[in-house]
Amino acid sequence: MLAGLAISDRAQGFDFRFSKGSLRQGEIFDSATSPPARYIIEVARRMNRAFPEATHLVVGNPLLPLRAEQIAKWLPQPLAAAAIVSDAADFPLLYVLPRSVLGPRQKYLLALSGVDCDLDRRLLEALTGIEVARHRLGSLTIGSYPLTTAEGWFQGSARQAVLKVTAAHALSLIEARADWDRLPVAAFHPYHAGSIVFFAVASLDVDTPLVERHIICSSYRDIAEACGGRLEPIWLDLPHLPRDGSVGEPQYFSRSLDRLGAQVTGENFIIFMRYSRASSASPFHMIDQDRFTLGQSFERVEQLRQLQPPLRSDRCTLPPVPLKVLFQVTGGVSIKNYPLDYCKTLFRVLDRMGIVASVIGRPDLEPYGVTSIDAGETDSLTAAVRQHHVFVGLDSFPHHFVRNALGWPTVGLFGTTSARNFGGGWNAHYRDADAGLACHPCGAESRCPVYGGKECVNYARPDDLIAAVLSVAEQAYGFRPE
C-alpha cells in the first residue's frame, strides 16, 4: 500500500497497490532495486499528473502500509509549506512536499532516508531552501521495523543505517558545496555480473534518468564495457560481495565508501540501489525493475520492455545447416546445474539429429557427443556465441549477457528461479524452459526443498528443451531438421 494526498483548495486522496502484473489504475510498478525514496518520488509524480492544480503533495512513507484516509487524519493543521510527520520515535510517517520538489532537483529526493525524520527534515530543507516543519505524533510508535514485511520490503536496522548514511552524506554535500546541484547522482549497485547487465541495459531505456553514474566493482569492467550502458562508471576496487552470506550488504557498503575515498564521495550523491525489496515478489523483469529505479515511470504494461522487442537483436551469420547450439549447463552450485542425466540424453539426441552442440567448461560431457569449450571471460563468451546459432543458458550471467547485451537467439533454463524476473522477455528469438512445477520458484541454493536432492526437478526435460531450441532456430533461421 502506498498513499498520498494532493492538496490545493481541496484535498484528493490517492491509494496505490504494488502491481502484480496488470498495472491497473491505482497500481504502482514493483521494483526490488528501488529505495524507499524512489517511491516517494513516484507517488508524488502520480498525484501531480492526476491533480495538476495541487500546491502540496503529501506522500505517506512507502515503508508503511498506509491509506489516504489515514494520512488525512495525521495531516497537521494549518498546513505548512513543507513538513514531515513522524511517530513518537522519529520514524517518518508522511512527507508534506511543495509541488516544486518535482522540478529539476527531483533526483536528489532519492537521498531521503525514509527512516529518520530529523535527517530527512534537514535534507529537505537543504534541498528546497524552505523551512520544513516537524510534527511528532506522540501517541503512535511504529516500533522496531521488521526484517521483512508483507509488502515485500526488507529494511531491518542494518539496512536502515545505510539509508541514514546516504541521507547524511547528501546533507553534508549540500552544506559543504555551493554548487551541490551540479553534482551527479551515483547508483550504488556494484555487483553481481548479471545485475550489472540488467542495470546497464536498463539505463539505455530510460527517458530522463535520475542517476548519472554507476558504482561497479572493477572486476566487472569488461561486462560493463561490453554492455555499453548509459551511466558513467565509477570503478570500485573491491572484490564483489561473496554469495555465501559471510558479508552483509550494509557492511560491504560501508567498506565501499572507505574504498571509494573522498574523491568520489565528495563529488557524487550516492544512492543505495541494491535490493530493497524481494525481487521475486514482483512479476516484472529485472530490466524493467531497474528502469523504474533509474527514474522511468510506468502506468501501462505496454510501456514495459518485457512486452516490446529487445533493444538489441542480433543473430548468427553462419549458414543455418548444420545448426550450432552453445550450452551453458553449469551454474556454480549443483542445484543450479542442469541435471547430469538430462545432459547426457540431450547431447546424445542432438548428436543423432545432426545438430552441433558445444558446452561451456564441461569436458566430462564430451563422451555424449558435445564439444567442451572455454568461454569464461566476456570476450571469449562473445566469440563463442557468435560461432553458434542459438545459445542455451541457465539463469546466470552468460544467459543475461547473451540475451540482453548481444541480443542473440536464446533459450533460458529455469529451475529454482523464475523467468518472469530473469528471462528474456519478448518471445521473438527467445524461449524460457522449465517443468512448470508448483514449487517454482523456490529460490533454493543448495538442496531441493521438496525431494531433498542436489538437483532441481523443475528443469525442463531434454525433449522439451530440444523442442524449444528447434522452435527458436526455426523462427530465427528458418531451420528445420531433416
Binding site: 502491481s19 502484480k20 502484473g21 496488470s22 512479476p283 516484472f284 523483469h285 504494461v301 518485457q306 512486452l307 542425466d341 547426457k344 540424453t345 540431450l346 546424445r348 539426441v349 543423432r352 539429429m353 523467468a419 518472469r420 528471462g423 522477455g425 519478448w426 518471445n427 524461449r431 524460457d432 517443468a435 512448470g436 512445477l437 508448483a438 514449487c439 517454482h440 520458484p441 526443498p449 521438496v450 526437478v457 526435460r461 531434454p462 525433449d463 530440444i466 523442442a467 528447434l470 522452435s471 526455426e474 523462427q475 528445420r480 531438421p481
Partner: protein, 376 residues
C-alpha cells in the same frame, strides 16, 4: 486463458447451508475448523443484490466463470444458473459439472434407449444457460466418468442430443486423470485433475499400518490417524504438476486448501496440510495457480487454455477463496495476485509463432526415451 472457479449454489434463502456450516464442529483436534464468510456475509443466492457483489469480486480477481453442479432430481436436471444469469455476459459466464455418480441408469450398458432420453433431458437443462464457452462449445464436466458403463457411446449420446437441441456443441471434460488418459479415446475432449481424495500420485504423510490400526483400536491413538489421509500441500501440489503432459490432455485443477471431514462422518476424510500444520500456505497456493496457468498456456491451443480453481465458495471443505473471518481477504488477494502475475507472464511470452509441429515433437520424445534408456 480462462479461469473457472467451482461454485457451491446451496446457499439459499432457507439458511440451512449456512446453519450447517456454523454448527460444524471438528471431530478431532487434527481437523481444521471450518471458516465463515466476512465481507460478503452469509448471503442468499436468491437475492440479486447479494449475488451481484459475489460476481463482482470474482471478476475483480480475474475469474472468468463459475462451475455449477448439474444434478438429476425426479428425472429432470437442475442447476442454479438462473440465479447467476443476470450477471453473466461476454466477460463472465458459467460451466457445469454433471454429478453423475448418483445416477444408476448410466451404469447399465444395456439401457441405451432410456439413456438417450435422459441425455436429451440433460441437454434440455443447458438451453439458455449462460455458458462461458471452451473452444466455442458449452463446457460440461463429468464428475465420475468411471461410473459410465460405456463412456464412448454415452458421450456420443450427449453430443447427439446437443446437436438435436440446436446447441453449438459440448466440450466434455472427464474429471479423471490418473489412468493414462483412458477417457480421451472415449469421446471426451479433455481431462480434469480429480479432487484430492481421488489423487493417488502423492503419498499421504500418515499412510497407516497394521500397528496403527491396532493402536487406534486399543484407544492409544486418535482414530483419524488411521481413517483420515493427510497430504503435505507442497508434495501434493508438486505431484500435480510433475510429468503431467504424460497423463494426456489434462486441465489443471488447483486447490488452496481442502479438508472434507464434515462430509465424512464415518471417517476417511482427506486433508491438505501446509507447512507448520496450517490449513493454507498462500505463497505456495499462489505459485501453484501461476504455474498451472503457465503450463496450460504452453501446452494447450489458445481456445482450450483453462485453469480450474477449487473453489470460490465451497465452505464445507475449507477451500473457499471468498473473504473469511479467519483469513480475511488473504486467500482472495493471493488468487487475484497470482492470476495477475500469470496473465502478465503469458502476455510477455505471447504466442510461439514458429512452434515445432507435433510429429517432430514426438520424434524428439522417442529419441530422448531411447537415449535415456541407453544411458540407464
Amino acid at each position: 486463458m480462462q479461469i473457472f472457479a467451482f461454485f457451491d449454489s446451496s446457499f439459499g434463502s432457507d439458511e440451512a447451508a449456512w446453519r450447517r456450516l456454523r454448527e460444524a464442529r471438528p471431530i478431532s483436534r487434527q481437523h481444521f475448523s471450518l471458516n465463515l464468510p466476512s465481507s460478503l456475509g452469509q448471503y442468499d443466492l436468491n437475492r440479486q443484490d447479494q449475488v451481484a457483489p459475489i460476481v463482482g469480486l470474482a471478476r475483480k480477481a480475474g475469474i472468468d466463470g463459475f462451475v455449477l453442479d448439474l444434478v438429476e432430481a425426479d428425472g429432470d436436471y437442475r442447476h442454479a444458473g438462473a440465479l447467476l444469469a443476470p450477471f453473466c455476459g461476454s466477460e463472465f459466464g458459467l460451466a457445469l459439472r454433471w454429478c453423475n455418480k448418483s445416477e444408476p441408469l448410466w451404469r447399465d450398458p444395456a439401457d441405451a434407449v432410456r439413456q438417450m432420453e435422459q441425455a436429451e433431458r440433460l441437454v434440455a437443462a443447458l438451453r439458455d444457460f449462460p455458458a462461458r464457452r471452451i473452444d466455442g462449445r458449452i463446457p460440461l464436466i463429468v464428475q465420475a466418468p468411471e461410473t459410465l458403463a460405456a463412456p464412448a457411446a454415452q458421450t456420443a449420446m450427449l453430443r447427439m442430443a446437443a446437436e438435436r437441441a440446436g446447441l453449438s456443441g459440448l466440450y466434455l471434460i472427464a474429471s479423471r486423470a490418473e489412468d493414462q488418459g483412458r477417457f480421451l479415446s472415449q469421446g471426451f475432449d479433455c481431462l480434469l485433475d480429480p479432487p484430492p481424495q481421488d489423487w493417488h500420485s502423492c503419498q499421504p504423510s500418515n499412510r497407516a499400518s497394521g500397528l496403527d490400526y491396532l493402536e487406534v483400536m486399543a484407544g492409544l491413538r486418535d482414530s483419524v490417524d488411521y481413517l483420515d489421509r493427510f497430504f503435505p500441500y507442497l508434495s501434493f501440489s508438486v505431484s500435480r504438476m510433475a510429468k503431467r503432459d504424460q497423463r494426456g490432455k489434462c486441465l489443471p485443477l488447483v486447490f488452496g486448501a481442502f479438508h472434507d471431514w464434515l462430509d465424512h462422518p464415518e471417517g476417511g476424510a482427506t486433508h491438505l496440510v501446509a507447512s507448520g500444520q496450517r490449513a493454507i500456505d498462500t505463497q505456495l497456493f499462489g505459485m501453484f495457480i501461476e504455474n498451472a496457468m503457465l503450463w496450460t498456456h504452453r501446452n494447450f491451443s489458445p481456445a482450450e487454455r483453462v485453469v480450474f480453481l477449487h473453489s470460490w465458495n465451497c465452505w464445507f471443505d475449507g477451500s473457499q477463496m471468498e473473504p473469511s473471518l479467519l483469513d480475511g481477504d488473504l486467500v482472495y488477494n493471493t488468487v487475484r495476485a497470482a492470476i495477475d502475475r500469470g496473465r502478465y507472464v503469458i502476455r510477455t511470452r505471447g504466442e510461439s509463432p514458429a512452434d515445432i509441429d507435433d510429429l517432430l515433437k514426438e520424434r524428439i520424445a522417442v529419441l530422448c526415451r531411447l537415449a535415456g534408456e541407453g544411458a540407464a
